[in-house]
């Protein structure tokens, strides 16, 4: 098992990373930590994409192209997230997401 590295290994690793990130986004109060957990989930998806690229489309590298665009979006998203967090911090001195009533519908 240790020697036969296959697609499934990468997919399971990605699933675990995604689940950890999901737990963090749902259970954490601090907006920065939630952003960090979203980055974990994005990295999990990227591992899936690159693994598919290696095993399913090794010559076209479609998965790697997809992953590059995901990285672009992740960078843009985090920049905007940090900007909003700084703006909020100026206003209410805390970025506790429960005070922002994130889950209220």
């Amino acid at each position: 098992m240790l020697n036969n590295l296959g697609l499934e290994h990468y997919l399971v690793l990605s699933a675990i990373l995604f689940a950890i990130g999901l737990y963090g986004t749902l259970a954490k109060r601090n907006a920065i930590i939630i952003l960090m957990c979203i980055e974990l989930m994005l990295n999990a998806v990227n591992i899936t994409l690159v693994a598919f690229s290696r095993y399913v489309t090794p010559e076209l590298l479609t998965g790697q192209i997809f992953a590059i665009f995901v990285i672009i979006v992740a960078a843009a998203e985090i920049a905007m997230g940090v900007a909003i967090i700084l703006a909020i911090y100026r206003g209410i001195e805390s970025i506790d997401a429960t005070k922002i009533n994130l889950m209220k519908w």
Partner: protein, 162 residues
Amino acid sequence: MGLAIGFWISASVIIAAALGVVLLRNIFRAALSLILCFLMVAGIYITLSADFLAAVQILVYVGAISVLIILAIMMTREVQRGNLSNKLQLPAFIVALLFLGVLVLTVTNTPWPITDTAPVVPTTTTIASRLFGEGGFILPVEIAAALLLSAILGAIVLAREK
């Protein structure tokens, strides 16, 4: 064999570091743990012979995104408050566990259309021609330009004083 060792080391560090992000009490340490996780993901990319992507991962994630996150932590002095959880800890744990179960069952029970072709090494030329060449992904590249512009505009407006 070398690949397998590399994979298992990177994978275990990734999972440990990700757990660190969620569980560490100190936010600054959680951020450092996140950076370690990003670095090891680059290791995973190398075992998948995605050399260009590994470099991008280090430049963008370890270089830029980490700096932004640490900047946010420093500016907001949230370190003193610690990495707190909300009341949803148990439901969140159950949801994440269920999700993990479904995902693992799905990925292990699906016969993916795997080919035995050897991977392209190095990947840079292929990626360049797929992105910019004939019949490639030039449209997403152009949309990405607009996306970065709107992100810059948005971040400037939101972060500035009224």
